[in-house]
Symmetry: C2
Subunit: 225 residues, 2 copies
DNA sequence: AAATTAATATGATAATTATCATGTTTTCAT
DNA sequence: ATGAAAACATGATAATTATCATATTAATTT
């Protein structure tokens, strides 16, 4: 099993602020796990007794609304931590996490890391910075959801995925989402999401290869109103 | 001028985790300020070089969307801290803050408090807890915006204000918002917000005294679909 | 107190989005 | 490879929400 001290993934998240000793200790108690595409990592309401460090793959965080629809709130990628909030508040998770790819993650039990959070100010400051960033992103998300049309939101989602997660060798978006996933990010009906994607295709903004999507006109997508 | 060590307001926020010495030092450099209703506390994009501790009053945090409409993202009340995020990230504020009441706030310069955040783990853990809470609230807000109708969102906003900020002696909501403010919380056109409020009034869910609103049927509001 | 301005209110209509129906394609298990 | 199931697609229609126009009322200034 890999050692945290030597793992490069931590450079991307707040674990980088841990001391070598702390990392060695954590390395000794972490468990590595592979998660298949579509598998649930944790459920809404579940108590997560630790954090996941994502070594590979992507997952979606979603919340079930009262009308029975899922809303995707965030995507967590390779390098990110998953379940940070449950380290801090003792509440159960308010979100569900589902793998969008095959994933590889390391699970660090809360009991092992919580003391570091209290003792190592560099570490807690790093976590704070990440949360501050998440909060800012959440604000932006709220404004977009509230003030923009479905078409605009979907265009922005495509741009976001393109910029954040990149493309395959054939230029298609590397994260493969179902039309339903798109609808659940944008907060619309699946049919509406499909319709808008079809329209983008007709307008030459995107092209599709099966369910794969390729951005054909990034600037055009930015101009969508 | 009041002394932080003796101020009870801090019990409501993370400043309570500071040591007496830290509080005394902060007390010496803080400035107290009154802000009139409608006054801008800080602008979007402005660099805030510290945090505000709200001693009295309420303000709204909003963000201008690209289409020129304001979206209210959060309300900050007596007891809360304002501008926490700028303590942590060195970025300028992504939100504008405007007083909804006459306010009294203490401003603590960043330079004085940033070291405490790095040195006092109890304090930084408290800040972390608050941010974790804010983040959870933001998630819930996103889901509501994305998945619920204007009518539902407005009903929930009324309930939220009722529960969080209470009522005047005559039972009207203690926070006086314009119809435009309601629209900017809910993310709709002002006319639509007005229309829905009129409908609620007709249905006996609320009553109005001028622009003051009184909740007449809380359970009914909860059932709005 | 009169005049001006801003906020609230409501109607008419257009635009957006949801819902239901139905057909097609893709994926997956056997 | 084949049948079943899931995902995708599109039309028809209804519901929701935005926009523009125009009153009405309240607040503010002079």
């Amino acid at each position: 099993m890999g050692k945290c001290e030597q793992c490069i993934i931590k450079q991307f998240n707040s674990l980088k602020a841990l001391t070598k000793e702390e990392l060695v200790r954590i390395s000794g108690c972490k468990t590595t796990r592979t998660i298949k595409k579509g598998e649930v990592i944790f459920e809404e309401g579940e108590t997560i007794n630790g954090v996941y460090c994502v070594k590979d793959g992507i997952c979606k965080l979603s919340k079930l609304s009262e009308n029975g629809k899922d809303q995707i709130v965030k995507m967590v990628v390779k390098g990110d931590l998953l379940g940070q909030r449950s380290l801090i508040s003792n509440e159960s998770s308010n979100l569900q996490a589902v793998a969008l790819n095959d994933m590889e993650v390391c699970f660090i039990p809360k009991s092992e890391i919580i003391a570091d959070l209290q003792k190592n100010p560099k570490f807690s400051f790093e976590v704070l910075k990440e949360m501050a960033h998440d909060l800012k992103e959440a604000d932006d998300f709220i404004v977009n959801m509230a003030q923009k049309s479905v078409k605009q939101r979907l265009a922005e989602t495509l741009i976001y995925i393109y910029n954040s997660f990149g493309v395959n060798p054939d230029n298609t978006l590397s994260v493969l989402l179902s039309r339903e996933d798109f609808a659940n990010i944008v907060g619309t009906a699946t049919e509406s999401a499909i319709r808008v994607l079809s329209q983008f295709k007709k307008e030459g903004l995107i092209s599709t290869v099966g369910k794969q999507i390729r951005i054909e006109d990034l600037e055009g997508l930015k101009r969508v109103e």
